[in-house]
Amino acid sequence: MKRLDLIFSERELEQVLAALEKANAPGYTVMKHATGRGPERVITEDMEFTGFGSNAHVIVFCDQEVIEKIRENIRSILSYYGGVAYVSEATPL
């Protein structure tokens, strides 16, 4: 099994979750209120009240197949709005 980590602005959360659903991801976990720094942008928690939002960290445990289906869609969102996506190995307990 694979583990997919997606980190991007909360404002794109709905789009990303829709992409996950479309690829039939078996489930996902969302952690909001993440902050961080990418190559260009800095998002701090202090700005959260502005509605500007902080980042979301989405974890998906799924088969390679789902990864393949998801790839294009997620990539186009992240390359446009910013964010990172990494895949690693994971075995069910």
């Binding site: 602005s9 800095v42 202090d46 502005t50 509605g51 500007f52 869609n73 969102i77």
Partner: protein, 332 residues
Amino acid sequence: MESNLILQNVLSPPILFFFLGVIAVILRSDLEIPAPLPKLFSLYLLLAIGFKGGIELQKSGFTGQVIPTVGAAILMSLLIPLICFVILRLKFDVFNSAAIAAAYGSISAVTFITAESFLENQSIPFDGFMVAALALMESPAIIVGLLLVKLAGPIKRRPNAKPMKIGSILHESMLNGSVYLLLGSLLIGFLTATNNPAGVEKMHPFTGKLFYGAECFFLLDMGIVAAQRLPRLKKAGSFLVGFAVLMPIFNGVIGVFIAKALSLGPGNALLFVVLCASASYLAVPAAMRMTVPEAKSSYYISTTLGLTFPFNIVIGIPMYMTFVNKVIPATI
């Protein structure tokens, strides 16, 4: 300018708490107001401003100065972004220029309530219906900003085939959380005042009495956030620094003359000027981040929050008051 006015303004609790926040950052204190507590105060202030504005609007009705003043305010929120855009294009691309321009066409609710507190301190009367002007200046500025991008900019293809449609422009401009809450609370205040005077009474301890203290608490946080933003402004360059201070003054001066043309009293005139001079750090940045991600968010946030906002509440308000007093004779 009467430096006395500045001093009186600075020695009021909201401004003092703002400075307390700023100094905390400068001295590297670990004072922080963790998320989402600032959001609580921000939601509360919008709800309370809107509700009280709705009540006042119901009291005054849509007669006399109300329609012309609100109309002029909307006009300003369409005009200012155009002026700003032309100036900003000297240095920035279409995306960044449009985003910053939209922020300056819109308003800052906290600057507005600081000006109200200032007027109360000086015992200068003003009308509650000015809140309606406040509430109606956010959306037009966003619309102008997005239209500028649509007309002047080379739109890249967006992911998920979502080109910028008029519908989504209207959506972003009218349904942004803070615009929506402000307008909705205004309407609720209006309806309550019309149909349910007892309800107005029962809301007063929450939306009325608590307001000043909550404003202080929120300004403490704004001081922290503004001071954290300031260093990033340096990277943005001196053009933007100059813009963040001179543009409000310029917009404010236009505002004074329009206020005179509308024969507003000094209180309403100051509020009108402050609406023109202030810049948005709530609705507009959120809308721009979604619809114009090509623009660097640090530009429009650092200018409005790191410089224009502190400038306006500390120096701007008394300065504009001096302008108003010079241009408009105090006979009301």
